[in-house]
Each structure stands twice: as C-alpha cells, then as structure tokens.
C-alpha cells in the first residue's frame, strides 16, 4: 500500500535523504525492450519506472512514435522498487483511456476498412483483455477518458516489467509552456493581506499564500489561452474565496471554490489531484499545455511550466515559484527541493464533474473513509494502516511552511484534508481515532454535480488516544442535494456523544420494533431490539472520564 499521507517532517527528511533526482546519464537509455514490436514500433515509446520510493518516473524514446503511426502509444512499466506493485493510477493530459479499438491487440486503422487486419507485428498471445489495449497480465480500468488504473493481476514483482497501450500520441518530452505569468506572493501590494481560515492564525499571502498565487497564475494562463481579457491577482481571488467558503478554518483552499471563481469569470476548469510524484502525469500535462501545480519542500507549492536538464545534468522541471527569490534561490527549477515533489494539483480545461466530498480534520485525529462500494481512503492509526484505494482521492496534511522564513520550520496548522473526487451517490462512513490529546474538530463539505456547496455539521470535542468516532455521510451528486452527516452513537443529533444519548437507550431498553416505547434511534445496531448491545456501543464512544447518573 502506498503511503498517502506523510508528515511534513518525513517529507522534509525524504527530500534531504532520498536521491530523488536522476542525472541524465543515469536515466535508462532507449531502446526500452520491455515492449515487443507492435505495428510501427520496435520497442516501448514510453517507459514508466516505478522508483524505489514508489513514485513514477517516465522516459521517452523519440525514435518510437505512435505504433499505429497516428495516435496510439506503446507503454512499458518496470518496477524498480523493492515491493510488489498491484496497480498504478494514470492521468494523461489527453483522453488516454478513450479506447477506440486500435489497441495493440486491436485493428490496425491503416488496414483496408473492408478487410480490417490486426497490427503486424503484434504481441504473441493476443488478446490479453477486453479492450485490446492490454498486455499480458495487465488490466486497464478507465474511470473516464482521461483517468484510469493499470492493474497487474497478482502484482508486478520487484524488477519485473509489463506493457500495454494507451490512446493518444502521448508526449512526455516537449518544449516549455509559454504564457504562464510569474506572480510573487511577496509582492508588497498584497504580501500582508490576511488569508482565509481562522483569523487567529494570522496567515498572510506573503507567508502562506503560495498555493493561492499558483492558482492565480494558472487561471490567468488559461484566460489568456482562451483569449479572455480577464486576469486576477492573489488578493482578489483571496477575497472571493473568503466570501464564498473557499477556505477551511486551517487555511486550506478548496479547489471546487477555485473552479467556481474561474467559471464565474469565463474560465471553465476541472480539478484533479495526484498525491505522489508521478512524472507521467506531470510530463503529460506540461506537454499538453496544462501547467500542473506541484507540492514541494517543507511543504510549498510551485507551478510547473516545462522540462529541463540542469547544468549538473539533472532532469527536472521548470517552475514558476510564487515564493520570494531571496528566500528560495534558483527557484526556476525544482533544484531548491532536491529535484523532488510529492503531489500534483491539476487544473485543466478537460471536462470533469466538480462533484467532490471533503472531510477536514483538525488534529489530533486521523480518519479513513469507506465509500459505498467498500473502497477506503485515509489512515487508521489504531492499526497503522494507510488506505489509498479510491482513484484520484487524497488524504493530505494541508499545512504549509512559512514562505517568509522557511528555515524556521513554522507552518500553518497541521490540519488534514480527505478529498474524494466525483463521489458515488450513497452512504459513506468515516472512522476517526485520536492520535494524541487535545481539542479536535471534524468538518464535512461537499459539492454536487453542478458545483453547488453543501456544508455538513461540525463535530468537536477533546481527543485522546482512546477516542473512537464513526460518522455516516449520505451524499448525492444530484444538483441541490444536501449533505447529511451523523455521528455514530450521537443518538439525539446534538453533535456529541454524552449521557443524553445513553438516556435514549435507557428509555427504550428491552423494547422491540413495533412495541410501544421503541425508539429506533436507540436501536443502534439495527437488530430490532434495544438491549445491552446498543448500550455498550454508545458507552464505548463516550469521551474519556465520562460518568453518567
């Protein structure tokens, strides 16, 4: 299981210790023989390398164009990590999962339409799956035309390789994007402007406004691409977000609010996220003219605009860094961050529903969510298990380093955000457990398919390591739907579990469904009778030290 959420300290340590950059001389050299000859290719056009830390790197063989000579790409994968990899998610700048029949085991579009023929040559043993794009042992599961999962059956063992094909002439090596304006959060016009979130935190654009400024750069870039006269700046977007619930209380900017702002100004965008380094995604975006925003450093956000090789021979990305160049020298590449990054936020013009579900966790609590189909996302601290089973979702520490003095290590609050893109309609559960002692708050927020906001109740209390909470979330993407959140054990719905909830069980104790005095709220386990099984469920959820009369 890939580590989805990493503490900032670990991120910093990883940035320092892991040799995350690849020098050009150490990059695998083509030909990439992990793929057999198919059509016009004699080997892989692209090689995805699963690196030692689980991140994805991508290498390109310029001599291998589309195997159909038009717009399909032969892709190899090699696992250089020490663990067996079950699957990798992929997102392309184009509709790489928009399969149309000309996979490596499909029909050669250059053949006579009256006598369609397969590719010559093609892999021995075709077909390997229902789409015709699969290689041996590979399953391709599109989520939509742009996003999907590549699965490797029982897993891709360390050192093993596989191959498959994707739509599009995927470009992973290209010229930089032009037209992405460089905007600095340290601009004296706005550096002292307070950001959203809890005012007591005293966050300013200059200190913690890197992501806000990156988003402004991206919106202005797309507005320019669309030929719109519209431009914005950090304080303007900040003011709109503050007025439209675009921040959580910890200062996290909610992407759906950004989408709404952009749409209001004629720039229709969609949002996706990748919560690990994935050069396939970054390269695909950069090469399709869609600048991704990268999570770097301790942490900090920058906007990638192209690829480059440094004077020292390191393959890296060109970036627009909103930080102060006096604080982050050499900030036009990823060099200040050991050539590494840990996540990608993607604002593109690709169509995608703005529907999304957020859980905001203000420590000391960790959570994991289970969706209606049983897939999980988040962290269960009781078993030290990290779940990363929902495509495109993340469980992320949203804190940012103080960009005015990053060496201090000062950050915005270590609030965590769990995000589920385009959630299924149905009931989700969220299990929360205390990771330490102190006050906690858990908030819920959702967006429907029209991008309309629905806010759930806020739950707060005092946590300890024995704190266990379970929430039920009823979500519908239908426009106008309202998020319904209930705390398991909170029988009277007052947002907390206390003696008044036990009193509800007592009032119905021994009663069965249909009997006078039966209160369905008291039948916590839903077995049709109120008894000690229900009583003990609520009893265990009471805060430490609770004594009930």
């Amino acid at each position: 299981m890939r580590l989805k959420w990493i503490s900032p300290l670990l991120l910093f340590a990883a940035a320092l210790l892991v040799p995350s950059a690849r020098s050009a001389s150490l990059a695998p050299e083509p030909p990439f023989t992990q793929c057999p000859a198919v059509g016009q290719d004699t080997s892989c056009g692209i090689l995805i390398v699963i690196d030692t830390d689980g991140s994805l790197r991508v290498f390109y063989d310029p001599s291998q164009g589309p195997y159909d000579g038009i717009e399909d790409t032969l892709v190899g994968v090699v696992n250089n990590s020490s663990k067996t990899v079950l699957s990798i998610p992929l997102y392309g700048g184009g509709d790489i999962f928009g399969f149309d029949g000309d996979g490596i085991c499909g029909i050669d579009p250059n053949s006579d339409p009256n006598n369609p023929m397969p590719f010559d040559p093609r892999p021995a043993g075709c077909p390997f799956g229902p789409t015709g794009y699969e290689g041996p042992g590979v399953t391709l599961t599109p989520a939509d035309a742009f996003t999907g999962t590549v699965s490797f059956g029982k897993g891709l063992a360390p050192g093993a390789s596989a191959y498959f094909s994707l739509e599009d002439a995927i470009q992973t090596k290209c010229s930089p994007i032009t037209g992405v304006p460089l905007i600095k959060q340290s601009n004296s016009k706005w550096s002292n402007v307070p950001l959203g979130g809890d005012p007591k935190l005293k966050l300013t654009i200059g200190s913690f406004g890197c992501y806000l400024t990156d988003v402004v750069m991206v919106i202005n870039y797309y507005a320019g691409q669309l030929g719109l006269p519209f431009t914005t700046d950090p304080p303007t977007l900040n003011a709109w977000l503050k007025a439209n619930k675009g921040y959580d209380k910890g200062g996290f900017i909610i992407p759906q609010a950004v989408l709404q702002y952009a749409t209001n100004n004629g720039v229709t965008l969609s949002y996706r996220a990748v919560n690990h380094r994935d050069d396939f995604v970054t390269d695909s975006l950069v090469c399709s003219g869609q600048p991704p925003i990268l999570l770097v450093g301790q942490p900090h956000w920058v906007t990638a605009t192209g690829q480059t090789v440094t004077a020292g021979g390191f393959i890296t990305y060109l970036v627009n860094d909103p930080g102060d160049p006096m604080v982050y020298p050499n900030d036009d590449t990823l060099e200040p961050w050991a050539f590494n990054y840990q996540g990608i936020d993607i604002y593109t013009t690709d169509p995608a529903t703005p529907a999304g579900l957020y859980v905001f966790i203000h420590s000391p609590v960790d959570v994991y969510l289970t969706d209606p189909s049983g897939l999980r996302e988040g962290v269960d601290p009781t078993t030290q298990t990290t779940y990363d089973e929902i495509l495109g979702s993340f469980y992320r520490d949203a804190s940012l380093v103080d960009d005015t003095m990053p060496a201090s290590g000062d950050t915005s609050p270590h609030d965590k955000v769990l995000y589920i893109p385009h959630p299924d309609d149905g009931v989700f559960s969220v299990n929360a457990a205390g990771t330490g002692s102190g006050p906690y708050e858990i908030d819920f927020q959702a967006y429907d398919s029209a991008g309309a906001l629905s806010t759930g109740p806020s739950f707060s209390g005092t946590a300890s390591t024995s704190t266990r909470l379970k929430f039920s979330i009823s979500y519908s993407s239908a426009p106008g739907s309202q998020l319904v959140v209930s705390l398991f054990g909170d029988l009277n719905g007052d947002g907390k579990i206390d003696c008044s909830d036990l009193a509800i069980v007592r009032a119905s104790f021994g009663k069965k469904t249909g009997q006078k005095g039966f209160d369905p709220r008291a039948d916590v386990n839903g077995d049709g009778i109120v008894n000690v099984l229900d009583l003990s469920i609520v009893a265990k959820l009471l805060p430490p030290g609770t004594v009930c009369p």
Binding site: L502, G510, V532, L533, L535, S536, A539, K540, T546
Partner: protein, 206 residues
C-alpha cells in the same frame, strides 16, 4: 423505596464450593446462595455472581422467580463491574405478577478494558410473601449476553440458579405452647377431613 433487610435464615451449601472456579472453561453466572430458608414476611437478598470471566465490559440477563412465594422489591448493582471504572447500570424491569426481572444490564463507560475474574454483578431484594418454594433462575435465553471490551460475545456456561424455601408466617407473632398444640391439632383435623394432601405438606415450625 428499599426496605431494611431482616435476618435471613439460609442453610445448605454453595455449588461454587463443589466446583472451584478453575474447573470452568466459560464464564459462569451463579445465583447465591444456591439454597436457603427464609421466614414468611421477611426480606432477603440474593446475589448474582460471575466467575471465570475475562475482559467483561457489559452484561445483560433476565431473572425468574415464583411470584406466589416471592416478591422482588429492588435490583441493585454489584461491585464487580464497578471495579473497572464508571458504569451505566440498568436494573431489570420487575414484574411481580409474572415472576420476572427482565433486562438487567450494566456496562462500563468509555473505551476502556473490561474486568476479569470473579465477583458480584448484582443483588436482588426479595420479600417472602407466602410459604412455599421458589427457584431463582437465570434463563439461558437470547437476553443472556456477556461482551468484552472489543464488543465480542463471551461464552458462558449454563447459569446456576438458586432455591428458596419460605417457612410459615411469623409476622403474626409466636403462639403460646398450649395454643400452638391446639392449633396444630385443629389444622391436622381439617386437613384430614378435607382430604387436602397439599396442605399436609406445608412445613410447620414447631
């Protein structure tokens, strides 16, 4: 309202003495004392004990008795579960016409460990209302639930009940010896004449 307890005249022996705790694989619920004799009109208590339990977090069970002989007046929490922390005790519902005390329950509070070992779960106050015999039993039914702190059901052996013998009415005072002889003779005569075998079995304190 609890009545003050009068002296209890118990005899017999305890099953627990015959079967040491270590002999049981499962937790055992036992009514104590297992047998006893009380005077009609008196009050007494019976305990429900548990032995050999591990990590008990909560329990629930019913109790049955003979309503023609006994009347339950109160159900009180025992000391076993409270030794583990704060509890939420629900005394069972007393039905003195049916002879039942249903849904006696108790649970620890908050996410803590359960209690292990042996001890008293609860005590029941009874009044002896008529001469006769009454079992005090815990039905081995679906209402009998023992759970550990993880919410897992704990296995329990068949509960061991108790038996109470209520002697003749003593609340009217102790008769004089001569009067007592006459009354006894008259009573025997009535029984013979009526051919009432049941009455002949009524224990009479001499």
């Amino acid at each position: 309202m609890l009545r003050s307890r009068s002296a209890v005249l118990f005899s017999g022996f305890f099953l627990a003495a015959l079967f040491p705790a270590a002999a049981f694989a499962d937790a055992v619920l036992t009514v104590a004392p297992s047998a006893g004799t009380v005077a009609n009109g008196s009050s007494f208590t019976a305990d429900v004990n548990i032995s050999n339990v591990a990590d008990l977090y909560d329990y629930q069970f019913d109790l049955n008795f003979n309503p023609a002989v006994l009347q339950a007046t109160a159900v009180l929490e025992g000391s076993f579960l409270t030794s583990g922390g704060a509890t939420f005790f629900l005394p069972g519902t007393i039905d003195d016409s049916a002879g039942t005390i249903d849904f006696n329950a108790d649970s620890l509070l908050t996410a803590i460990s359960g209690v292990s070992g042996s001890g008293m779960l609860l005590e029941i106050e009874f009044s002896a209302i008529a001469p006769g015999s009454s079992a005090i039993s815990i039905p081995d039914n679906s209402d009998l639930i023992l759970q550990d702190s993880n919410g897992a059901l704990l296995s329990a052996a068949a509960p061991v009940g108790g038996q109470v013998q209520v002697q003749g009415d003593t609340t009217a005072g102790v008769p004089e010896p001569s009067m007592r002889w006459l009354l006894t003779a008259a009573l025997l005569a009535c029984c013979i004449l009526a051919g009432n075998n049941r009455l002949r079995r009524v224990p009479v304190e001499i």
